[in-house]
């Protein structure tokens, strides 16, 4: 089962997320897909060090020889938080758009903003 490791799965997840991002028109589901893409890179980084006889990077608890690489774990902590921040703000913006256009369909919002742009001026 050597092909079934975190890296392979994470790349497949990246692909699924991309498809969701392109093919689903609902903005909320687009954001979920974007979250999946981001999460897949985190899985990829964490899996770089994972091995069956590994031990968590805690001194005094784990055997020193078995400790897995702690650097990817440390950096993905930042990545997780950043992904959450992006998601929260994107969600707020989707809420603002829905309040204005009463829809989460990306094509319709695209069309309506383009029409509005033609009609009204960009500055007031």
């Amino acid at each position: 089962m050597s092909w079934l490791n975190g890296v392979t799965v994470s790349i497949v997840l990246f692909g699924i997320g991309l498809l969701g991002l392109v093919l689903r028109r609902d903005l909320v589901i687009k954001l979920l897909a974007l979250g999946l893409v981001n999460a897949s890179t985190i899985l990829c980084l964490v899996s770089l060090g994972a091995r069956s006889d590994g031990a968590p990077p805690l001194l005094g608890i784990s055997t020193v020889q078995n400790i897995v690489d702690p650097l990817p774990q440390a950096i993905v902590l930042s990545a997780i938080v950043i992904n959450f921040a992006i998601l929260a703000l994107a969600l707020v913006f989707v809420m603002l758009l829905v309040e204005r256009y009463h829809t989460t369909d990306s094509h319709r919002i695209e069309r309506e903003t383009a029409e509005e742009e033609e009609q009204e001026e960009l500055w007031s």
Binding site: L19, P57, L59, L77, V81, A85
Partner: protein, 241 residues
């Protein structure tokens, strides 16, 4: 799905599949530790580093000492998100009334019992971040989410009032400034900023690990307040809970 044109679906599936294949083939991952050359950083280095800082959790030692600047930037990103949510969701004309669901006493009792427990867990995860898994960020989020429970029962206004609205608003920037000041203190002592000045202490004790505990505490407080602000706005915006 059916509104999407067929050609777009075909192009998307084709490109994505090709992307996956290219990345899978090119990645060259043959299992952990199997590299073409000796990696620049090894686990042994990190163990030395962690022992130098006095922290037992190696990840914490990297996250809050070696790569502290990343963490500060990440806290800034989180602050920007909190501010953004606050800015874009408040000044929108009509604030909707928020009501709690008063009817079920079971929920109320459960919340009364659970809330202190969740806050305690958050505190533990924060304070013991350098000894066991966890840290300021996860601790703060756990405690902040615990308040969601209180918001369900009491309504966000009551919870905010109990926590003290002005205190919350101030904590938001006091903690941020605190983190930056702790990072800048060495500059005042003619050392480079972000250097850890506190002693390593004896590993395994709460008071060990240099300034990791200090940072964890500040970040925990900051994230606790921040996640509550986010939750409050989202709850308020739902109209009812």
């Amino acid at each position: 799905m059916r509104h999407v044109s067929v050609s777009l679906v075909l192009v998307a599936v084709g490109l994505t599949a090709a992307f996956c294949v290219v990345v899978l083939l090119g990645f060259g991952f043959r299992g952990p530790g199997i590299a073409d050359t000796e990696p620049a950083l090894s686990v042994a280095t990190w163990i030395d580093v962690a022992q130098g800082t006095g922290a037992r959790n190696i990840v914490s030692a990297i996250y809050l000492n070696v790569r502290l600047f990343d963490t500060i930037l990440e806290v800034l990103v989180f602050s920007v998100a909190v501010l953004g949510v606050h800015f874009y969701l408040t000044a929108r004309g009509r604030p909707e009334p928020v009501e709690s669901i008063p009817e079920s006493s079971v929920v109320r009792v459960a919340a009364d019992l659970l809330l202190p427990l969740i806050l305690l867990i958050g505190l533990y995860v924060t304070v013991y971040g350098h000894l066991s898994p966890g840290g300021g960020f996860s601790g703060g989020v756990i405690a902040g989410t615990g308040l969601l429970l209180a918001a369900i029962v009491l309504g966000t206004k009551t919870v905010t009032a109990r926590l003290g609205r002005r205190l919350l608003d101030r904590l938001e920037w006091i903690t941020l400034l605190g983190i930056l000041i702790v990072g800048l203190v060495p500059a005042a002592l003619a050392r480079t900023p972000l250097v850890d000045l506190l002693p390593a202490g004896s590993p395994g004790r709460v008071g060990s690990g240099g300034s990791i505990l200090l940072y964890n505490g500040l970040i925990g407080l900051k994230v606790f307040v921040g996640s509550w602000v986010i939750i409050r706005h989202f709850v308020d915006h739902r109209g009812e809970i």
